[in-house]
């Protein structure tokens, strides 16, 4: 169970290996978010956050996932600062005895992170910089976990 907010990159393989070592998991699901380049003409992505509240929000999201599913390990890493196309933005991981729990917990972590963790993205393009709009689909995705 860990939460990290950092400027530095991370290595999915190293993080996954550490999670496997920390419990008797049969199933490990990871999600990586990556800065897209290409047709979108995004030259770089600036990630701003609310120090203090961000960490608290991520810990709360992770604790909620651990309360809902029997996880042997979980992890949320989110980068901040200026990121280039192809770079890691963030990752979540969930390990469990069974694949259904690992998949559901990883999706839950993502849906809640998207809508409840105070991060904001600004894209730099040839036409100037623009704040990324929140997507209604993200609210809908988070709403499906309401009990």
């Amino acid at each position: 169970m860990a939460v990290r907010v950092q400027e530095e990159d991370f290595d999915l393989g190293v993080e996954a290996a550490a999670l496997r070592g920390s419990g008797d998991a049969g199933a490990l699901v990871t999600f990586s978010g990556i800065v897209r380049g290409g047709e979108g003409d995004v030259a770089a992505m600036m990630l701003e956050h609310y120090p203090g509240m961000t960490e608290a929000a991520l810990e709360e999201i992770e604790a909620e996932a651990c309360a809902r599913w029997d996880l042997s390990a979980s992890l949320i890493i989110h980068r901040v600062g200026r990121l280039m196309p192809g770079e890691n933005i963030m990752m979540v991981a969930a390990a469990s005895r069974h694949r259904k729990a690992a998949f559901e917990a990883a999706e839950f972590l993502m849906d809640y992170l998207k809508t409840r963790a105070p991060f904001w993205k600004k894209e730099e393009t040839p036409e100037g910089a623009r704040w990324v709009d929140a997507r209604e689909a993200d609210d809908d995705a988070a709403a499906r976990w309401a009990k």
Binding site: G33, L47, E48, A56, K114, T115, A117, F119, W120, W131
Partner: protein
């Protein structure tokens, strides 16, 4: 109390954070009215609060939330991490 701005609210107000006297401000909405009166930049930032979220002491709340005992109020657009 400390008032903080993030993302385009920080850009519009041109301020990251400022100290505001909370005397007479019962709710977040009262604070928003007081901030709007501070000048054109603040008025522009709070022109359409339907696009603005607020956290009191790092918890997201509604604009009708009480400011009693609040030490930190933050305004920001909907989150777009992940």
């Amino acid at each position: 109390m400390k008032v903080m701005y993030f993302a385009w609210l920080r850009e519009k107000t041109a301020i990251s954070s400022e100290e505001v006297d909370g005397a007479g401000l019962a709710t977040v909405s009262d604070l928003v009215e007081a901030l709007r009166a501070k000048g054109a930049r603040h008025a522009a930032a709070f022109e359409d609060v339907s696009a603005v979220k607020v956290a009191v002491d790092q918890k997201v709340v509604g604009f009708d939330a009480s400011l009693e005992g609040a030490t930190e109020v933050a305004f920001f657009p909907p989150m777009t991490g992940g």
